[in-house]
C-alpha cells in the first residue's frame, strides 16, 4: 500500500492506494500519527479512491485512528469509498462510526 499526505485548510488528507490490509499497519500508522498531534489539523480525511481491497485488520486500524483522533478532538472522514471498499464498510456498519462521503 502507498500513502500520501497533504494538509489543506486544517484538513489532513491521507490518500491510500493498493491493498489496505494487515501488512499496511506500519505505513498507515506513520501516515496518520503526525496529523493527530498537528495543531493546525482539525479533521483527518482518509481518501480510499485507489484502495482495491481492505480486510478486517484495516477496519481495526481505522478504529484505532478513530479512538486516537477522538482523544485529540479531531474528526475522521472516509472519502471516495466505492465498489468492494464501500461494500465492506457497509457490511461492517462503519457509517455508524465515521462520516463516509
Amino acid at each position: 500500500m502507498q500513502t500520501q499526505v497533504s494538509v489543506i485548510n486544517e484538513r489532513a488528507r491521507i490518500t491510500l492506494s493498493g491493498r489496505f490490509d494487515f501488512y499496511a499497519h506500519r505505513q498507515f500508522k506513520t501516515a496518520y500519527e503526525g496529523q493527530i498531534t498537528a495543531m493546525d489539523v482539525s479533521a483527518i480525511e482518509i481518501d480510499l479512491r485507489d484502495v482495491e481491497y481492505l480486510d478486517s485488520a484495516a477496519l481495526g486500524m481505522l478504529l484505532l485512528l478513530r479512538d486516537q483522533a477522538s482523544v485529540a478532538h479531531k474528526t475522521v472522514i472516509l472519502t471516495n469509498c466505492r465498489g468492494v471498499v464501500l461494500q465492506i464498510l457497509e457490511i461492517a456498519n462503519f457509517k455508524k462510526l465515521f462520516t463516509i462521503q
Partner: protein
C-alpha cells in the same frame, strides 16, 4: 584476582580472514605466542593469544574460540591445566584442543598427552599444513552448526505442532456440547491456518428454541481462535439458561470489548429459531446477509448486517435489537462469513461475491452446502483461502424436534416430603424479567430428575408467559395469530407496554408432594405425587364461563388463549383449572416415583 600481565585475550589482528575460525594461541612464552599468531593470521583465521589455561578455557567456553593451539614444551602442563578446566566446566560450545608437538619431543611424552589433546600438530608448522588443518576444523564447525540449526528448527516445529494439536483439541471440545443438536446443522468451516477464527455453533435452549452462532474474529490463526472463545462461551452458557438473542449479544459485546485490544473485534450472527411459534430472530453485526431459503428454493427473507461487530462500541451505543420473521413452511437458514464472499479467484482479481454464492444456494435444500462449497472451490481453483471462511445451514421445521428426554416426570429418590415455593413479582421486576432464566432459577430449587425438567419447564414458562402477556400487559391473544402483520403488532405492543409498565403483579406458586393436591381441593389417589403450578396475574381476567366450564375448579377443554405452546401444556398436565375469572391458572403434573 589475576594480575594484569596474566589477563589474556588481547586481540592481535582485525584484518579480514578467509577461514571462518577463531583460534586461541596458548603458550607461556610471549615470543612463541607472537610467532604462532602471525602464522595463524597469515593463513586467514582470526586469532587471540593467551598465557593462562583458565583464561583460554573461559574464552573458549564462551564460544569465542573454535580451536586452542597449545604449546607443550613445558611437558604439557598448560594443556593439562586446560583439560582440567574443561572437565570441570559444562560448556556446550565444541572446541578442539590441539597439542603443538616439538620435533625433539620423545614419543612416550607425546603418548602421555593422548586423551588430553583432541589433535596433534608437529612443529615447526608449515603454512600449507596449518591451513589444511584449520580448514578441516572450520568444516567440522559448520557441519555442527548446521546440525544444531536443524535440530533447533525440528524442535520448534515439534513444539508448534504440539501447541496446535492441543489448541485445536481444546477449541473443538469447548465448542461441541451436545452432539444430538450438533447434527441439526450443516456447516463447513475452512481455516486459513491450522486454527480458525471462524466458529459455528448450535445449541438448544430449555424452551426448545434452537440458537445459532456464526462468529468471525479479526485476523486468523491462534489469536483469532482465542478471541472467539468468549463469544462461544457466552453463547453456550446463556443458551443453557434460556436467555434471548439480545441478552446474549449484549453480554458477548461486553466480553469482547473488555478482553480485546481496540482494533480487534468479532463479526457475528446470533440467531434463534422458535419452531413452536415458527419465528426466527436474527442479530447480524458485520457479517454478510443471512438468508432464509424457502421450500421452493427461493429467498424468503434476508437479514443484512444492521449492527457494528461485537467489541467495537460499548454501553448505550451498542444496539442489541433483533429482526424477527415468521415462517409458514419448512425452510432453511443460511449464514456465511465474509471469508466466503470475499474469497479471491484463482487469478486474485475477482471475488467470489454474494451473487455467485446465492446462485449456488438457490434450488433444493438437499446438497445445498455441497453446491455452495463446490462453487467456491471452482471459483478459487482449489487454491487455499487467505482468510477463514464458513457456511452454516439449519432447517427451520414446523414443529420442534422431539425432545431427547423421557416423557414421564420422575422424582428423584431422595424426595420424601412435600414442599412449595411462592414468589410475587411487581412491575419493576416484570420490566426486566428474563422469563426463561427466572423459571430455571425456580427449577434449580426443585429436586426433579434432570430428564423430567423439560416438561416442568415447559408448563411453568408457558403459564408465566401467558400471565404476563395476556394478564398483566393485557395484550390481545388473538392478535398473535393474525398473520405476520398481527405478530409484528403484537411484538411492538408487547415491547412498548412492558417498557412502560408501572403497576401489576404476577405470582407463582410451585408445590410438590402427596398432600398438595388435597390442599388444593383436588381428588387424589393414595401414593401418587403431584407437582402443582399456580400462576396468578393482576390483569382483568377473561370469561371462563364462556369456555363451557362452571364453578370451581373449572376444567378447561378448549380456550381462546390456546396456542401451540398451550396445547403442549395441556398434554403434559392431568388437570388444568382456571379460578378468579381466569386470573389464576392451576396446572397439575403427575409425578411417578422410580421403582
Amino acid at each position: 584476582m589475576k594480575n594484569e600481565s596474566a589477563v589474556l585475550a588481547r586481540r592481535v589482528e582485525a584484518t579480514p580472514y578467509c577461514i571462518a575460525l577463531n583460534v586461541i594461541v596458548l603458550d607461556a612464552r610471549a615470543g612463541v605466542r607472537r610467532n604462532l599468531s602471525t602464522l595463524v593470521k597469515a593463513v586467514g583465521a582470526s586469532v587471540v593469544v593467551a598465557a593462562d589455561a583458565a583464561d583460554a578455557y573461559a574464552s573458549a567456553a564462551r564460544g569465542e574460540a573454535d580451536v586452542v593451539l597449545c604449546g607443550v614444551d613445558d611437558g604439557g602442563a598448560l594443556l593439562k591445566a586446560l583439560n582440567t578446566e574443561r572437565a570441570r566446566g559444562d560448556d556446550v560450545h565444541p572446541w578442539t584442543a590441539v597439542a603443538l608437538v616439538p620435533e625433539a619431543m620423545a614419543d612416550h611424552d607425546v603418548e602421555a598427552l593422548e586423551g588430553i589433546a583432541d589433535d596433534f600438530l608437529q612443529l615447526p608448522l608449515n603454512a600449507a599444513n596449518l591451513t589444511a588443518r584449520l580448514r578441516m576444523y572450520a568444516r567440522t564447525r559448520s557441519h555442527f552448526e548446521r546440525l544444531n540449526e536443524q535440530q533447533t528448527l525440528l524442535q520448534r516445529h515439534e513444539d508448534e505442532a504440539e501447541d496446535k494439536r492441543i489448541a485445536s483439541h481444546l477449541l473443538a471440545r469447548l465448542n461441541i456440547r451436545d452432539p444430538a443438536t450438533e447434527r441439526m446443522m450443516h456447516a463447513w468451516v475452512s481455516p486459513a491456518q491450522h486454527l480458525s477464527g471462524d466458529v459455528v455453533a448450535i445449541a438448544r435452549a430449555p424452551d426448545d428454541r434452537l440458537n445459532l452462532l456464526l462468529a468471525d474474529a479479526t485476523g486468523h490463526g491462534l489469536a483469532a481462535a482465542i478471541s472467539v472463545l468468549p463469544v462461544t462461551e457466552v453463547f453456550h452458557r446463556m443458551t443453557e439458561r434460556g436467555f434471548d438473542v439480545s441478552s446474549m449479544v449484549g453480554e458477548m459485546n461486553r466480553k469482547i470489548r473488555s478482553f480485546m485490544p481496540g482494533d480487534r473485534f468479532v463479526a457475528a450472527v446470533v440467531a434463534s429459531i422458535d419452531m413452536r411459534e415458527r419465528v426466527i430472530e436474527v442479530w447480524n453485526g458485520g457479517c454478510p446477509s443471512v438468508l432464509l431459503l424457502g421450500a421452493d428454493g427461493a429467498v424468503a427473507q434476508t437479514w443484512p448486517s444492521r449492527h457494528l461487530a461485537l467489541g467495537i462500541v460499548e454501553g448505550a451505543d451498542f444496539d442489541a435489537s433483533v429482526q424477527r420473521f415468521a415462517y409458514h413452511d419448512a425452510c432453511q437458514l443460511m449464514m456465511v462469513s465474509d471469508g466466503l464472499s470475499e474469497a479471491p479467484s484463482a487469478g486474485g482479481r475477482a471475488r467470489f461475491g454474494d451473487t455467485a454464492m446465492l446462485e449456488a444456494a438457490l434450488g433444493p435444500s438437499a446438497r445445498r452446502l455441497q453446491r455452495v462449497v463446490s462453487a467456491l472451490q471452482r471459483f478459487t481453483g482449489g487454491k487455499p483461502l487467505d482468510d477463514d471462511a464458513s457456511v452454516m445451514l439449519v432447517h427451520c421445521q414446523m414443529e420442534p424436534p422431539a425432545a431427547p428426554l423421557d416423557v414421564v416426570p420422575v422424582v428423584r429418590d431422595d424426595v420424601e416430603s412435600a414442599w412449595s415455593v411462592e414468589l410475587t413479582l411487581g412491575a419493576a421486576q416484570l420490566r426486566r424479567l428474563a422469563l426463561v432464566p427466572f423459571v430455571n432459577g425456580i427449577l434449580d430449587q426443585m429436586d426433579i430428575a434432570a430428564h423430567a425438567r423439560s416438561d416442568v419447564f415447559c408448563v411453568l414458562s408457558e403459564l408465566l408467559g401467558n400471565g404476563l402477556d395476556y394478564g398483566v400487559l393485557g395484550l390481545e391473544p388473538g392478535l398473535r395469530h393474525q398473520g405476520d402483520e398481527g405478530r409484528q403488532r403484537f411484538w411492538q405492543q408487547r415491547e412498548m407496554r412492558l417498557a412502560n409498565l408501572s403497576e401489576g403483579t404476577l405470582s407463582v406458586r410451585v408445590a410438590l408432594g402427596p398432600a398438595v393436591a388435597v390442599e388444593l381441593g383436588l381428588e387424589t389417589e393414595p401414593g401418587t405425587y403431584h407437582l402443582v403450578i399456580a400462576v396468578e396475574d393482576s390483569g382483568s381476567g377473561f370469561d371462563v364461563q364462556a369456555l363451557g366450564g362452571a364453578g370451581r375448579p373449572t376444567p378447561v377443554r378448549s380456550h381462546q388463549r390456546a396456542g401451540r405452546g398451550f396445547e403442549l401444556v395441556r398434554s403434559l398436565c392431568d388437570a388444568l383449572y382456571f379460578e378468579n375469572h381466569g386470573r389464576r391458572v392451576i396446572a397439575r403434573i403427575p409425578i411417578t416415583r422410580p421403582g
